[in-house]
């Protein structure tokens, strides 16, 4: 099994499309963070404008931690899109290239091939989210320095500098877990089409529709929200609360995990009985 995963990793990481996401992150993150440095905190001042009449803020709140935390909002739409480029190509890409005919005539079960492909997808997802985290946090700290972290979600929370680094680490672990659900969805779509564009469009379509249902405060959607994975994608945000709602974090982890398992299980059912006509 490890040998199959090794060669799936080679196939994936020697493919140019795998690096589209890395390249975009490597361009966009520095661009945004340099712009935020040059902009000099106007964004934060604008956000705090209404509060400055009642509160007096001291110290360097417009720092690397704040910018790195802001960058994590790309996890809603942009990062899922980039992940679906690769996850959606894992199975459909073989159909497009005609290489199913090369690999599925071997004396190895389809289940093992499937698992090696999903393992590769998971590894890519973790590596990609890790790359985003290291680049965005590292560069932000270099450009804007350290300090306490001001969190602008559900009010204002200021976390002391000594309490921030581990929270970022935990947040990126949780973000990787959440992105694994997105990757699993793309992987599912990839199992029943023969072109990698379909899974990308399908994944983003579902993600955006679910996100809209999640964020639009309409009574009609209230009962649906708990059943949508998008309702739990923000699990990483919860580690920036104080105290951290561990029960809610655990619940989100479980729901996202269940969704991932469900998507992958359906994909496996399709893949193991799929007629290869390409």
């Amino acid at each position: 099994m490890l040998r199959l995963i090794y060669y799936e990793l080679i196939k994936t990481f020697l493919k140019k499309r795998t690096y589209i996401g890395f390249a975009l992150v490597a361009v966009i993150v520095p661009l945004v963070e340099v712009a935020m440095k040059l902009e000099g905190g106007r964004f934060l001042q604008y956000s705090l404008r209404s509060l400055q009449q009642d509160f007096f803020f001291v110290g360097n709140l417009y720092n690397g931690w704040f910018v790195a935390h802001s960058m994590m909002n790309s996890l809603w739409v942009q990062i899922p899109l980039l992940i679906s480029f690769v996850a959606g190509d894992q199975l459909a890409g073989e159909a497009t290239a005609g290489t199913y005919r090369l690999i599925l005539v071997r004396p190895v079960s389809r289940t093992r091939i499937f698992l090696s492909k999903f393992s590769t997808t998971a590894i890519y997802t973790v590596v990609f989210v890790g790359f985003l985290g290291i680049l965005s946090v590292g560069l932000a700290l270099v450009l804007l320095g350290r300090g306490d972290l001001i969190v602008l979600q559900r009010g204002i929370l200021i976390l002391s500098e000594s309490d921030v680094a581990w929270r970022f680490l935990a947040a990126y672990f949780l973000a990787a877990w959440a992105m694994l659900t997105i990757a699993s969805l793309a992987f599912l779509f990839s199992s029943f089409v023969e072109n990698a564009i379909g899974p990308i469009i399908g994944t983003m379509g579902v993600n955006i529709v679910f996100l809209l249902i999640t964020v639009i405060p309409v009574e009609l959607f209230k009962d649906i929200k708990p059943y949508l994975f998008s309702n739990y994608l923000n699990v990483w945000q919860q580690v920036f609360e104080d105290p951290i709602p561990w029960e809610s974090v655990g619940n989100s982890i479980a729901v996202l995990g269940a969704y991932s398992v469900g998507f992958v299980f359906i994909a496996w059912l399709i893949f193991r009985r799929k007629d290869i006509l390409s």
Binding site: R3, Y7, I10, K11, L102, V105, P107, D275
Partner: protein
């Protein structure tokens, strides 16, 4: 050849919606055979091969490889088999060597030596490290054969291996197939719509048409069943027509743009030649034909063939 049966299909069939692509197919390939699997385009050859290699699931019937059911013991059944299905596709952004490493891993592992051996066998050693996307069609075909031989299988299934090759490339592949059968004791199943090609290498054959088995058996005995005909190229045409219409032993005459195709016993050829000369007809050629191709055409295209019958 009546060796051990290593491939057997029983009532094999595949249905797409309301159309049977393959229906009631009973094939037998014996150890040591070079088995020709013939049929015109769209006859169901590739669908059959996809079922033999577990790419698609039969709607009915069963496949047995080395006595093992492909449905119930898939991995064991495929252990001693290599194959290419339709055009050979590879990971174009990887080298031939790397592609074969991947195939080897799926076969349970391979060695650098074995990869070099099969690349050498198909004449690709010097291009082993080049990306496959830089390969010509012929090179990809040869790489396809190399990957099918990588695990040193006892049984090799080659689906249209000469498709798209130039005459020299076709000749090389034929020689390779002969070498595999004669020198490496491999059983080969070769599908093709190029019948003369199969005639040149196969000892047994099956003909499939519209998804159904038309015939199966030794090439030599099937050849005997075929029509014996003579291609006549001579002028003037009117006189040739007259001679043929009155010639004893002529069963059927088909006139094409280039020649008359005369169905008749070969024993009657000297008499026909004399008759043509007597009428001062200029004979360009009298060519006896008893090829598998004639036979194949007779059984698969009889409904579309037009001709004039001699009474």
């Amino acid at each position: 050849m009546t060796g051990e049966i290593i491939l057997q299909t029983k009532n094999l069939g595949k249905q797409y919606k309301h159309r049977w692509a393959v229906h009631h197919l009973d094939l037998e390939v014996h150890r040591g055979d070079v088995f020709g699997f013939l049929g015109p385009n769209g006859a169901g050859k590739s669908t059959t091969i996809r079922m033999l290699l577990s790419l698609i699931r039969p709607t009915e019937g069963e496949v047995f490889l080395f006595g093992k059911s492909l449905d119930r013991e898939r991995e064991k059944a495929l252990e001693s088999i290599g194959g290419i299905v339709e055009k050979p596709d590879f990971y174009g952004y990887l080298s031939a060597y790397r592609n074969l490493e991947i195939v080897g891993a799926l076969n349970g592992g391979t060695t650098r030596k074995r990869i070099e051996e099969v690349l050498s066998l198909v004449g690709l050693s010097t291009r082993a490290r080049d990306k496959v996307k830089t390969y010509s069609h012929g090179m990809k075909q040869r790489l396809g054969i190399a990957q099918s031989l990588l695990s040193d299988p006892e049984f090799v299934i080659l689906d249209e291996p000469t498709s798209g090759l130039d005459p020299q490339g076709m000749k090389e592949i034929r020689e390779l197939i002969r070498h595999l059968a004669a020198d490496q004791n491999k059983t080969v199943m070769l599908s093709s719509h190029l019948l003369n090609e199969v005639e040149m290498v196969a000892n047994r054959m099956a003909v499939i048409n519209r998804g159904e088995l038309v015939t199966q058996g030794d090439v030599s005995s099937l050849l005997e069943k075929g029509e014996k005909s003579v291609a006549v190229r001579a002028k003037p045409l009117e006189k040739v027509r007259q001679v043929l219409s009155g010639q004893r032993g002529v069963e059927k005459v088909v006139e094409t743009a280039e020649e008359f195709l005369v169905t008749m016993p070969f024993e009657g050829i000297p008499e026909l030649a004399r008759a043509l000369v007597r009428e001062q007809i200029d004979i360009e050629a009298l060519v006896p034909r008893r090829s598998l191709e004639e036979y194949f055409l007779a059984i698969t295209e009889s409904d579309t063939r037009e001709g004039t019958s001699k009474e």
